[in-house]
Symmetry: C2
Subunit: 322 residues, 2 copies
Amino acid sequence: MDTVKQIREGHVRPASRLIRDIEDKIPSAKSEIKSLFPYTGKSFIIGITGAPGAGKSTLTDAIVTNLRGRKKTIGVLAVDPSSPFSGGAILGDRIRMQRHVQDPDVFIRSLATRGALGGLSHAVGKAIHVIEAMRKDIILVETVGIGQQELDIINHAHSVVVVLVPGMGDEIQVMKAGIMEIADVFVINKADRDGAKQLHKELISMLNAAPLGPKDWRPPVVMVGSLFKPKPFAENIEELVLKLEEHYLYLRSSGKMIERINRKITVEILDALKANILEPIVQKLDESGDLLDLVKKVKSRKVDPYSAAEEIAHRFLKSEDK
Amino acid sequence: MDTVKQIREGHVRPASRLIRDIEDKIPSAKSEIKSLFPYTGKSFIIGITGAPGAGKSTLTDAIVTNLRGRKKTIGVLAVDPSSPFSGGAILGDRIRMQRHVQDPDVFIRSLATRGALGGLSHAVGKAIHVIEAMRKDIILVETVGIGQQELDIINHAHSVVVVLVPGMGDEIQVMKAGIMEIADVFVINKADRDGAKQLHKELISMLNAAPLGPKDWRPPVVMVGSLFKPKPFAENIEELVLKLEEHYLYLRSSGKMIERINRKITVEILDALKANILEPIVQKLDESGDLLDLVKKVKSRKVDPYSAAEEIAHRFLKSEDK
């Protein structure tokens, strides 16, 4: 297929078009992504996550600059409606990103949260595959949030950077809520701000308290900030990139990489099962008016949603497999 | 059924036990929730959401105190691993909540995020039904997060309070990410802090810019804080509760209540379909070892996950309904 060939040669236009078609659930995208699939899985995927306002985009931009200095080819996927990559940006941010847009070895795309209440998981995994097929060495996936969506990045990335900033509420409590478990590298961004040293101290003491085996990875904490002394900004970023490289080598040598790859694939299969089993049934119920009837019956308490779902399962599933 | 009768009479122990069983997916919980269902749907559900550290629990506590003064019976469901209700609390918070624990007309339960990476949606809806069956007039559902989980509250509540605090990053950007659409009432908490007036001003100007019809609800902004002048704390809370009452009356008179109830029920049906259709298939694939085989094949790029999912759909779904 021509599109596949073009994407494999790194052409931006067909890759961008396919990612958009994936997001919009255009039917032809399905066969294209299937054709691409054999050429995927070779990139190293780094997730960069943290609360809005944590400076993830500026950090991502600086990592790209550093990695380009190492001659790595890069993909950036921003899954963040407030990211400058997504266009929800103040002008200065957008202009800053332009220099990478001009670089043929950097591919930048964003996924909007179309209909903010729907999950993005299906599009994220597939968009990553498109960039993998473009043969980018490293793909940076920027995600926002503290809730479920932030934790979901672990299902898409090999390595996860959690970005914290001083003074954004009770950071340590945030971390208890699942963040501690997904972080491979911590960044304290805007480290020139008040409270950075305190946050660093608390984070280190929590990390030291974690029960780790001798072969387990202990997430490092990197202080970053354009005004942060004593080292210049670029050196902070250099340290961060070295930690990411170290983590990559750890994943390879410890066998953890295989675990993470298996988890990524399992999540992709489960997403595909949802798209092929649950979604068509819901669509059928919706189009036939059965869903609307059912809502009315549940509202008047003539039926409960759980018994109704059992009946629908009986109607659609083969009995020998039930 | 005895449990149902006891819960309807407001007994705490069987209600707590059933909510725990729902969370733990104990099979008997399913028939119990079905038996309870006819007695549900009479409470007014208020969602209270915001970033960690926004002071949601203190606010919830104060709202409970105010509503008890109005002789309302109350349920509190905390879906927040960092909430004092969930036990992830500093001691002072937990002691403060104790006074309501002693009040027979206040029922407080928390849902932990068991296995942080799983969704909580199924348990939230059912736990609300248990509290509804206890005949509580008003149920406050406290949720955390800025990502997907925070937005999900709109599927469970009739009225949504979004709690902001000054100085927690770029609040306005956060709001663009879907929060603006779900908020019925804004609270600027810790309004004594620097930046509260600025946040208030920005928020009001965004709200004024929203294109609203003459009959649309314009979310009010309430300033709250224990040190916030000129009014004492209790008066700020009184204002908030009056705004919530006003919104309730608006929902009833505008017909919007029916829309929200229909949406709540639709989400419940979709959750139940997932539990009865998708989850048993995944469990079967897992137990038979088929899932593991498939992961290996996808890893070696012998098959893509999308074609594999189509094949599985064909295997489990009745062909006439495909």
